[in-house]
Symmetry: C2
Subunit: 170 residues, 2 copies
């Protein structure tokens, strides 16, 4: 396989992976492109390399910056902005985990809170009881995951690695 071909393949498949991870396909492709680029690239460069529109390029880069996966920088003597990706996989993973915690876990936890306010009367005592029990179980689990992700966000990779090796022992 030629190098260019390999790069394209990686970009395409990172793109489809992304679409399963709450990162849109193009967004993930831009990230992939920047990950394998040796130099920071301008919006124009990205646009050309992936053959996408100016607007889409801008939106994708913007979201990647929001997610903390790409950073903007300025080259001396250049007017244009350049972008470079976070290449460290540990950081990439924790950034994604952080965003998803915010976007997904938070809303479900809030619904679980609300739903527990249900009125219990004589008539529905048993049914409501079972419902509440189920809701509590879910909330319990969700909040464990939530705390875990919050921790992960602060943690560093070495700590995680050592945990992982304990994890794999048994």
């Amino acid at each position: 396989m030629q190098l260019d071909e390999a790069k394209e393949k990686f970009i395409a498949s990172w793109g489809s992976l992304g679409s399963n991870w709450g990162v849109s396909r193009t967004m993930a492709q831009v990230h992939a492109l920047l990950m394998i680029s040796e130099e920071p690239m301008s919006a124009e460069d990205v646009m050309g390399a992936l053959n996408i529109s100016r607007g889409n390029t801008n939106m994708s880069i913007r979201s990647l910056i929001d997610w903390g996966l790409v950073e903007k920088l300025h080259k001396l003597g250049e007017r244009k902005e350049f972008f470079q990706a976070e290449k460290d996989m540990w950081k990439v993973a924790t950034r994604i985990a952080r965003e998803r915690r915010k976007r997904e876990l938070a809303p479900i936890m809030s619904v679980l809170e609300q739903v527990k306010e249900v009125e219990v009367s004589d008539g529905n005592k048993q049914e409501a009881g079972k419902f509440l029990k189920q809701m509590n179980e879910i909330e319990n689990f969700a909040s464990r995951i939530d705390r875990m992700m919050a921790k992960l966000d602060q943690a560093d990779e070495r700590w995680f690695s050592s945990l992982l090796s304990k994890f794999m022992k048994r």
Copy 2:
């Protein structure tokens, strides 16, 4: 809040959560409905409760069975099939992890394998070297996650809990 209202709210929000998790919205709603139903339900029941078409009901239930989140059962003396959801959150989470490992991790690992076959010539030695280094890092990370998920799939909840508490200590 009334009980019915609370149930609807839970179903709706479980649905939108699902759509972020590779489970389609309706599929997740059916799962939610079955989780809070005290009795197993028939396809007809589900169709009525969620106001969705016969075809969609069938497809959603079928996928849930594939994912291992719902099981089919027969009531004595009834011709119809009934369905009941896995209600234990630990099992729900491990089933989802198992499917996603299969659907997402596996393909990217295979691409990483392929891409490492890239031809290195004198001309692109340096560039190819950096590319390969990057691919190796990603593969390394991915395979750690992969092994972790494989382990999770076999593990039981108590073990996970004790790990989690170690995890939360530091």
